[in-house]
């Protein structure tokens, strides 16, 4: 029951991420995804990882993003509406593709390992993350996209987690934390140097 509720909320959070133009709102949805992943881990019985994911993905990483946003001018934190509409359409196409792929792969292995809906929703989260990275022009939305894509991959790896692999998952979380930390520093520099967070201003390095 908890599993299904979390999965449905996760797919909803993906489309909320794609459908909003306000970066501050996107940060909140990123935190929501962290909480949902922690709830799923709790359902799987991984207590240590539940706490780690809750703290890192639910609180610390969104907090880092929020801290970065606080220094930016408010009018620079809104994405163009045209891009938002295109992203939602691309996300729906991603969901349809993931469901189709799951149906094609519907072997015994899939059902034994992945609970129902796990595979398509993991893939959809990954696709939504990639769409955010490619489809938005702000540096911070690329970081949010990276986090969403990583959440999708984390979800797909969840059924394979055992007590013996907890150290690896913690190392992975540490890596993601450092990555977002470094990206946060870079965003601050970008904002200072370019007076904007738009990566389409990056035009000096071309052939």
């Amino acid at each position: 029951m908890l599993l299904n509720i979390c999965l449905y909320l996760l797919v909803l959070s993906n489309f909320l991420l794609l459908g909003t133009s306000r970066v501050a709102q996107m940060t909140k949805y990123t935190a929501l995804q962290g909480f949902l992943l922690a709830a799923l881990l709790f359902d799987f019985g991984h207590s240590v990882l539940t706490v780690a994911v809750l703290v890192i993905k639910g609180l610390v990483l969104p907090g880092l993003l929020w801290h970065t946003l606080a220094k930016m001018p408010k009018d620079s934190l809104i994405c163009p509406h045209r891009l938002v509409a295109l992203d939602v359409i691309a996300g729906m196409a991603g969901l349809a593709f993931a469901i189709w792929l799951d149906a094609r792969l519907g072997s015994d292995l899939t059902f034994n390992l992945f609970p129902k809906l796990f595979l398509p929703l993991g893939l959809t989260t990954l696709f939504c993350g990639l769409i955010l990275i490619i489809g938005r022009v702000k540096a911070i939305t690329q970081v949010i996209g990276y986090l969403a894509a990583e959440n999708g991959i984390f979800l797909l790896g969840m059924p394979l987690m055992t007590q013996g692999t907890t150290w690896f998952e913690l190392a992975l979380l540490l890596d993601v934390f450092v990555a977002v930390f470094v990206m946060g520093i870079a965003i601050n520099r970008i904002s200072d140097s370019f007076a904007s967070m738009d990566v389409d201003r990056f035009r000096s390095l071309r052939d």
């Binding site: 394979l160 190392a171 520099r189 990056f202």
Partner: protein, 496 residues
């Protein structure tokens, strides 16, 4: 010893970061590099004599392939560490710099201690990539290489380097995330509900031993994601977009490490996947993918090298070319694979040599344009001579080592019956030779610019490491020592 090889750069890096004065950093860096090389030599000796060094319950247990790439990284870092002393001294003397690529704005460098510390962390993460047989740990350490090298690329705090750093961070992080998906799919392929997998730390050996029971569909999907993920970091076209920007904007000594050592480390992740695919009788598919990406990289490099005016980007595209050659040789297998192993060694040495020299040229001429650099032989006699030798070496001319390795790969292609591939390979190498020669020879020839001093002094530490590297590259062209060749054959036998 295996723990020491990780602990040494981490501890030194922390000392530099928290207590590092400039003099201490400049002293510690070569000392650390030298000790690391000694430890690497000891590990290589053990592995060459059939021993299996292991530590941390098997989490650190390198094989011949891993030791080969560890040795390359360690030797390159040693050369770079001496060069860095001279480089940092010069940077300190200049103080405030001007961005010559964009808007001519002024900028300062990052603190020296941070730069030196992250160089050490970068070495530690590359070492971990090469000595672990666990694919998860390898993934974590490859991501750690990205995070530890990003501040190095942003050493010069200006807009262009920030742009390059951002592209590097985002593209490589996303690429590596896809490699993680590849790792997960690999575990799915080996999943069995009746007997849960307990691979321990030596995952590669476990996967190879149980490869015949793996689900082929999931295994193929896993390899595709491993190629995309690690291929991005390795700079295989069309996933190479970060590479020319990062290599051109990083300090030249960092470019030397990125190109000579980091790309090999990323390739190791790909090679582990190839090993497992071969054990599962799916080697044909993985070989074909490597050949495709290899050839595509060669074509891409040829297109961008011809007419390239930015000499550091020229070297970066040359790295794309050589990664393509490596992928091609490994994909074909047999003699070509042995040639590819030799190619990995010689390319790393040569590219390190050229990037270090490009740093000398940039410091003297203050331009990235090969059109504006004229008369190197007059203005910088040592650097100019080595640049010329380096050009002939990287273009695959005799008597340098790359000629031998490229010919071995060519013979391997013919021996396996890939006649059209061999012809395409030669044609592309010829085009690249022409493209490189136009730019590199133009820089050496011509008259000395009027505002350049006639016979300026060149700091010993800025030309000595490239000189030693050039001698090694020449030596490997004249004669490959038996011990090295046997080691390369052993490494090649693991991947085909």
């Amino acid at each position: 010893m295996l723990i020491a090889i990780l602990a040494l750069p981490i501890v030194t890096g922390l000392i530099m970061l928290f207590f590092g004065r400039a003099l201490l950093c400049r002293l510690l860096l070569p000392v650390t590099a030298f000790c690391h090389t000694l430890l690497t030599a000891a590990i290589a000796w053990q592995v060459a004599h059939g021993q299996k060094p292991s530590a941390l319950a098997g989490m650190l247990a390198p094989d011949a392939l891993g030791v080969l790439f560890l040795a390359i990284a360690s030797v390159l870092f040693l050369a770079v560490s001496f060069y860095t002393v001279s480089y940092l001294r010069e940077e300190e003397r200049i103080g405030i710099h001007t961005n010559i690529l964009l808007d001519h704005g002024q900028f300062t460098n990052q603190p020296e201690r941070r730069f030196a510390a992250f160089l050490c962390f970068f070495l530690a993460s590359m070492s971990l990539v090469t000595i672990t047989p666990h694919m998860g740990v390898q993934w974590v350490s490859v991501e750690a290489t990205t995070l530890s090298s990003a501040p190095l690329i942003y050493f010069h705090r200006h807009k262009s380097s920030l742009e390059a750093t951002w592209k590097y961070l985002i593209i490589c992080s996303v690429g590596i995330a896809l490699a993680l998906l590849g790792n997960i799919l690999l575990s799915v392929a080996f999943y069995s509900p009746k007997a849960p997998a307990d691979a321990g730390f030596d995952q590669v050996a476990w996967f190879i031993a149980h490869a015949k029971n793996a689900n082929p569909t999931w295994l193929k999907a896993a390899f595709v994601f491993l190629v995309v993920g690690y291929g991005t970091k390795m700079g295989l076209a069309p996933l190479h977009n970060w590479l020319p920007d990062a290599h051109s904007q990083a300090p030249s000594l960092v470019s030397a490490l990125l190109s000579g050592a980091l790309l090999n480390c990323a390739m190791l992740g790909l090679l582990r996947g190839h090993q497992i695919m071969q054990a599962a009788q799916l080697g044909e598919m993985s070989s074909q993918m490597l050949i495709f990406f290899g050839l595509f990289s060669l074509v891409t490099a040829a297109v961008f090298i011809v007419g390239q005016g930015h000499y550091k980007r020229l070297l970066a595209y040359s790295s794309v070319e050589h990664m393509g050659i490596l992928a091609l040789g490994i994909g074909v297998g047999g003699l070509a694979c042995q040639g590819a192993m030799l190619h990995a060694v010689v390319h790393s040495l040569t590219k390190c040599l050229l990037f270090l020299l490009s740093g000398n040229i940039l410091a003297r001429y203050h331009t990235y344009s090969s059109y504006d650099v004229r008369g190197l032989r007059w203005t910088m006699p040592f650097t100019g001579s080595l640049w010329l030798a380096g050009f002939f070496a990287i273009a695959g001319s005799p008597p340098f080592g790359l000629f031998v390795s490229e010919m071995l790969i060519f013979k391997g292609l013919l021996a396996q019956g890939y006649v059209w591939l061999a012809i395409s390979y030669l044609v592309l190498l010829a085009i690249i030779f022409v493209g490189l020669s136009v730019a590199c020879l133009r820089m050496v020839q011509g008259n000395r610019p009027l505002d350049m001093p006639k016979s300026p002094r060149e700091p010993v530490l800025s030309v000595l490491p490239p000189l030693v590297l050039a001698i090694c590259v020449l030596g490997l062209g004249l004669c490959v020592p038996d011990a090295l060749w046997h080691f390369l054959v052993r490494a090649a036998s693991l991947i085909g």
